[in-house]
Symmetry: C2
């Protein structure tokens, strides 16, 4: 008798050698990003002051569907990749659903999340460009920890602006970054003009990704041989993350199934893009009609309730203007524990795809997300990151819908990270101390109008 397989593994030799650049195959390309100084479409050169040149070129590459992964990066990927594809038998049983639920387990990375997939190439391209120092921001801390290890791996110094609310909620994240040798600063801080301004206007402001990005960019611009690195939103970050979906595609084939539905949580879009785009190309070519669902927090609903418009990627307005679904770059999200999802906008590719109805979005309340996470922990063993709980909650909804309808669906979701460094959030949930946050249409309107 065939043994029931729980995990579908790939050997290291099957780590993809190229990333997939979905833009090259989109019929409607995203509208161009705009240089706010010249009002002209952004050119790679505009980005060179901030990013390694190859990253700037990747950011604006609309022609090459496949981009080589450097051998040095692929070699470091071997530390944790290929990651397992796992059949969630335990969760299926608890839900009594005919759906087959698979998850791609990105939590096995030593930093605990998918973020290392882009941190390694970003550090590598900077190193070969002669960069000595990097700056970045981090929300929940997942990106900051990933870049801390990646920077150490390729011999770069790193300063991380960490959103203050996370800095306080997640002291272990700070320790982790320091263990890998990074310097960590709570944001808003007095070390930048952007930080000083917001602290003057709002002395008790607990920070947001938008503000932390402004601070990190400002420090990079003022420091020689120092560049900036971003953990989501941008096209080159989504590009690197496609390694998730490319591996998952091979693994689903080994499992003998193809996903009807693919689900990921959504902050800036990198883990969603990463698992979706390689499968989406079969939708774009007309072969398949998979549904792609982005699960965002109800307290930060740019996809489900935001506007599609040009907006800045950061709070101060240092970035290019990006065509995005946004709540406005001054949006101050509620202090939910899924810090990685507290971002006002979506990347330009994902925004275009949503506009074109190639993908869908749902919003998840904080309490629903933790309820889903606890059920997952008790049935599958892994305690998920608060961000990933949103994907699990959306998966459970679809699995229960399949049960109601009596249809067998194959659902694949991305477990973007584990929650072992976020146990204080579970603690508060179990103690009944967490709440949902609602947002009125008026709140959103005001935020979109703020300059």
């Amino acid at each position: 008798m065939m043994e029931k397989r729980k995990k579908i593994m790939l050997p290291e030799t099957e780590i993809p050698t190229k990333w997939y650049n979905v833009v090259a195959e989109m019929k409607h390309k995203p509208q161009p990003m705009i240089n706010p100084g010249t009002k002209e479409p952004l050119k790679p050169e505009d980005l060179y002051p901030l990013f390694a040149e190859e990253l700037a070129r990747q950011e604006l590459n609309e022609t090459d569907a496949w981009i080589d992964i450097p051998e040095e990066v692929r070699d470091k990927y071997k530390i944790y990749r290929p990651t397992p594809l796992v059949r969630a038998y335990g969760l299926e049983k608890a839900l009594d659903t005919p759906a087959h639920i698979y998850f791609k387990n990105e939590s096995v990375s030593p930093v605990g999340s998918h973020k290392l997939n882009s941190a390694l190439p970003q550090a590598y391209y900077n190193k070969i460009d002669g960069t000595t120092n990097l700056t970045t921001e981090t929300g929940a801390g997942q990106w900051g920890t990933a870049l801390s290890f990646a920077a150490k791996t390729f011999g770069l110094e790193l300063a991380v602006y960490m959103v203050k609310i996370s800095y306080e909620q997640k002291p272990y994240r700070r320790s982790l970054m320091q263990t890998w040798g990074a310097q960590v600063i709570a944001s808003p801080s007095m070390s930048t003009k952007a930080g000083r301004k917001i602290l003057t206007d709002h002395p008790t402001y607990q920070g947001s990704l938008g503000t932390a990005i402004s601070e990190a960019i400002e420090l990079a611009m003022q420091t020689p041989k120092c560049k900036y690195a971003l953990g989501s939103v941008l096209n080159h970050v989504s590009l690197h993350q496609t390694i998730i979906g490319l591996e998952a595609e091979k693994q689903m084939e080994l499992a003998g199934e193809y996903p009807d539905i693919i689900i990921a949580c959504f902050g800036g879009g990198s883990n969603f893009s990463g698992i979706s785009f390689p499968f989406l190309r079969h939708n774009l070519s007309g072969e398949k009609s998979t549904r792609f669902i982005a699960a965002e927090p109800a307290s930060c609903p740019k996809l489900t309730r935001g506007h599609f418009q040009y907006d800045f990627g950061d709070e101060t307005g240092y970035t290019p203007l990006i065509p995005m679904y946004t709540l406005g770059h001054k949006f101050a999200p509620a202090n939910i524990h899924a810090g990685g999802l507290r971002y006002h906008g979506a990347g330009s590719i994902v925004s275009q795809l949503l506009k074109d109805k190639q993908i869908e979005a749902v919003d998840i309340d904080q309490l629903d997300s933790f309820e889903a996470g606890i059920l997952f922990a008790r049935t599958e063993g892994i305690v998920p990151a608060p961000e990933s709980n949103h994907a699990i909650a959306a998966t459970i909804r679809e699995a229960l819908k399949a049960k109601e309808e009596g249809t067998k669906k194959t659902i694949l979701f991305n477990l973007s990270g584990h929650g072992l460094i976020d146990m204080s959030a579970y603690d508060q949930y179990l103690a009944g101390d967490l709440i949902n946050y609602s947002l009125s249409d008026e709140d959103i309107k005001k935020s979109l109008e703020a300059e």
Copy 2:
């Protein structure tokens, strides 16, 4: 060209179907455990009040070298097993050593350590015996978290007595156990006679594994359908852990090497036994002459400075008398962060092997252990558990010795767990707030004489 392999993986079908019981092949069997009531050698029936019957039989089985792993347990092992065998290229390079360093990565278990290897069968055997409730103790929290998930998996309730110093140092551990549904009590507590006695004698006592064991046993003995579970020391625990070494043996073969030296940290002995015994059988048969090194903390040196004698496994004296290397069952270890190594004695098999010079032991200072852990984190990505840092420090010593001697050695160590839930320890180390603890011969003598 052959790609350089970082990880040696096995498919799920290669999860062993039997555990290895080294006692069956030892020429000098361990001296028998003694029932303190009758003063007679222990019989399985003596253990039935405390343990599931099959576990009691495994504990005293000296004849069967191979014990079947139940299919239900093997199925749950698939959640995380087989674990990777990893070549530590990064660490080798940093040490500039000719040694080949491999580690078995038990940190990929969803509970973060090897402890789940025994927690799952212990919960399973109890379930089929009709047990409804389990009690246990936990030092660093690794065992408690493992049993929390295992108990939930097989539908048992669990109460965990957690050593007070760890309860305070590691709040995330408590949250983790609660997330999986367990009840957690700081030990010593007022809920047992054993706890009340020690709190009366020493009101500020911060606990030890010995005391927590007494409390857990007492609660189990007083509650119907309630049994006790231990995470180390006992023979059946070591038996279950041999799955580590059995997998590693196959993986080393795939790597085309055989270890000259095998290293593991040492608390009660379960992870050391787990990785060592399957290889040790080739020493016992005369085919191989691998060195086996147990790395214990200098502050709790039962193997390097303790006495071989009959002693109790717990502080109060509820357990059988065990022939062991011990510091005395009243020994109160210093508050090192490697909570899982704060135990006064060693299991009877390991003690006999040490007596017969089949294995060796070294002691590691707390600061050396963290220095080793930080180097490992920065070169291999994984932040190790404070316990595992002892194995890494001993590995580094041997790798540097190989460099001095200019000999190529193959070293295999067990990475028993990750330290993501112990970041406060790293925090204190990086801040310079950790110290070494020394122990005089007089201290040890006094502790051995205490009744």
